[in-house]
């Protein structure tokens, strides 16, 4: 059973706002595979803090605008 995560993200929206940046583009810029970007976007994988900050840097926004954490642990907001 996969542990539920309380982390959600706005990567899809942020990519859309950056002229539809592709998942491959983002993957290359943060140094992961395209499949990992897909997994992160869908909430199937929580990246390390290092990768999370790299994603925020690509979009030039604070970390909280990329990732959010729900008030109750383990439940999606």
């Amino acid at each position: 059973m996969v542990k539920p995560t309380g982390i959600t993200n706005r990567i899809r929206v942020l990519r859309f706002e950056r002229a539809e940046m592709t998942q491959a583009d983002l993957a290359e810029r943060i140094g992961v595979t395209r499949q990992t970007v897909i997994a992160i976007e869908k909430g199937r994988y929580s990246p390390s803090l290092e990768t999370a900050f790299r994603i925020a840097r690509v979009f030039a926004v604070p970390l909280e605008q990329v990732f959010q954490y729900s008030d109750e642990e383990g439940t999606a907001p």
């Binding site: 996969v2 542990k3 995560t5 140094g31 992961v32 595979t33 395209r34 499949q35 990992t36 897909i38 997994a39 869908k42 909430g43 199937r44 994988y45 929580s46 990246p47 390390s48 990768t51």
Partner: protein, 155 residues
């Protein structure tokens, strides 16, 4: 289930996930061939423990390694851009799969130890260890594939 069996539209498979498929499939196939040969040899009323198992064992292990290398090369040629790409998630999933698969190696070692102490035939000792290697590879691959398909949290 659809996620696990690639029935979704636009399925995207990471290079290391393809390698996990190859490892699991080749391990099962190699062992199936070995079992078929050994069981066929004991078909004529020869007791299992007296079957000449060493050559089939070595050939199926060697064959599995060769097929696995060939398939890995074929997959790399099919998608050269992603060949051998491995990131943080791949490494974490690989670690989880190997760690889980290792349990069968320990079980096989304990079984072999018990068989040796009981002075069982070499056939059973060898086969306990071989089965342990196969199950370890199969379980490790299954855990990796589940982690790739259904999601994986490292915390």
């Amino acid at each position: 289930m659809s996620k696990l069996f690639y029935m979704g539209v636009g399925v995207d498979v990471a290079f290391q996930e393809k390698r996990a498929w190859i490892m699991g499939a080749v391990a099962i196939l190699g062992y199936a061939v070995y079992l078929a040969v050994v069981l066929a040899r004991s078909g004529g009323g020869v007791p299992l423990a007296e079957v000449a198992y060493i050559a089939p064992l070595l050939w199926t292990v060697g064959g599995a390694i060769a097929v696995s290398i060939a398939l890995n090369i074929a997959v790399a040629i099919a998608s050269p851009g992603e060949a051998d790409a491995k990131d943080q998630r791949d490494k974490e999933i690989a670690r989880l799969g190997d760690y889980t698969g290792q349990s069968f190696l320990v079980i096989a070692a304990v079984a072999a130890l018990a068989l040796a102490m009981a002075e069982a035939d070499y056939f059973w000792i060898s086969n306990a260890i071989y089965l342990g290697f196969v199950l370890s590879a199969v379980l490790g691959s299954a855990v990796k594939l589940a982690a790739y398909r259904r999601g994986f949290q490292s915390w």
